[in-house]
């Protein structure tokens, strides 16, 4: 469950990037967060992963109020929220397997667990055969799948996908959306941040629209109407 109560955030005086946001997202939901560039979508993502703090209001994830989360607690929050981005954020000098394993290595997991978990997520995203390839040796869609695999290694309750199809052609984009839906079917809450009208309209899931930092529409089985 994700709950935002009257959340406001500004980077400049007299300019609120988010203003009075109230949201409630149930555990296991698939939600599309839509809006134009600069509408405040990415700022909302940053609040959810603890990269930014709210000026006003409260942010609650599960039974954890992260409004005033300390620096020490942030790593534990991020192990519960998987994040993927438009630019994949893979390390070019590591193979796909190593990229995924890296997320567990830096959290101090034992090698035996790393091998087991990485194998299972690589299977889930369908990259088992390409595990030893480097990012530049695979397609954009496969790179994004590797990024999703990395986001899943901690078995997060929430997966935040910030414009995951922005750099992909329509075939690869659809494959990624299918994968996100499969992950959602396992019970993971998926928040898809996008301005891809076609994808949102195909999904027929809940759509939250943000404009100028405010929620302007929130509809079950909604459409991209902005």
């Amino acid at each position: 469950m994700i709950k935002l109560v009257n959340v406001s955030k500004s980077y400049l005086k007299n300019f609120k990037i988010l203003s009075g946001i109230n949201l409630y997202i149930e555990a296991g939901e698939f939600v599309s967060l839509v809006g134009q560039s600069g509408s405040g979508k990415t700022s909302l993502v940053k609040l959810l992963i603890g990269e930014e703090k709210v000026d006003d209001g409260r942010v609650i994830i599960g039974d954890w109020d992260i409004t005033k989360i300390s620096r020490r607690e942030i790593p534990y929050l991020r192990r519960q929220i998987g994040v993927i981005f438009q630019d994949f954020k893979l390390l070019p000098q590591k193979t796909l397997w190593e990229n995924v394993a890296f997320a567990l290595e830096v959290c101090g997991q034992p090698q035996s667990k790393i091998d087991k978990v990485v194998l299972s997520v690589m299977r889930l995203v369908g990259l088992e055969d390409k595990k030893n390839r480097y990012p530049h040796e695979v397609s954009g869609g496969e790179q994004q799948r590797a990024a999703i695999a990395r986001a899943l290694v901690h078995q997060p309750k929430i997966l935040l996908a910030d414009e995951p199809t922005g750099n992909l052609d329509s075939i690869n984009a659809n494959e990624i959306i299918d994968l996100l839906l499969r992950i959602n079917n396992f019970g993971t809450t998926v928040i898809l941040v996008t301005h891809n009208r076609e994808i949102v309209n195909q999904l027929k899931r809940r759509v939250i629209a943000i404009e100028k930092g405010c929620v302007v529409s929130d509809k079950e089985k909604g459409k991209y109407l902005l």
Binding site: P75, R78, K89, L91, A103, E105, V106, R150, H154
Partner: protein
Amino acid sequence: MRIIKFSLQDISRNIWLTIATITILVLALLSVNTLLTVEVLSRHAIDAVKEKIDISLYLKVDASEEQITSLKTQISQMSKVKQVLYTSKADALRYFREKNKDNPEVLTALRELGRNPLSPSLVIAPNNVEEAPQLINEIKQIDSNIIESRDFADNTVILEKINDITKKISEVGLFIIMIFVFTSMLVAYNSIKVAIYTHRREIEIMRLVGASNSFIYLPFVLSAIIYALVSVVIIVIIFYPFLGILQPYLEVFFMDYNINIINYFLDNFWIIFGLQFLSVSIISVLSSWLAIRRYAKV
């Protein structure tokens, strides 16, 4: 283990920067050790001069052994006196001959004289060099008819000069060390800053996937400690041969005084180089910590 692995990766990926950092640290340590050598040598020089500070009383040629022994006892009982050495006429002649064995003209003149012209003497060593002037005053007040002359050659002036020179060397040395410490801090800070820049993408991903703050910081801190360790090892490797070259010259310069600078550095190895390692580690870790706080915010 993974922290060590990441740290070594950081060092090898920025090898030229690592070399530059270690070079500066080695130069800083070289200046510290050179100053330490000067300090040790000047301390030895002062001790040598201190040993030379004594007061000679020349006695009359016809003074009897009883009179001399009585005077010697009287002086020995003074609180500021360490010891009194008696040189008889015969001993004085023997030392004189020994000293002038390569000077036949002096020996011929002595032979032609046909008698021992030298006086017996008492050589008085003070307990403490600083008390020498008071002791001289006390000795001046001794009323004895067997004292022919009193030699109060004042070596304290030399001692003061040596003390003064040592103090100046220490001051200049301290200034040089301060400059090197400051430079070392800047270089270590800059190295870690560049290392963080090189690893910025990895750090960003580490943050995203929930790596603990210490896991992000520690490889850089460990790199700083490795810089310190390598620079101290290098200074040990280059400094001992340097001392080996210096030692024969010292033996000539401090003839009659047993001085061995290599042994000094060997006997105090752990104190000297352990402290240097500790200091360089603290400097490097402190600069790394500052760089991390500024450039690798989590």
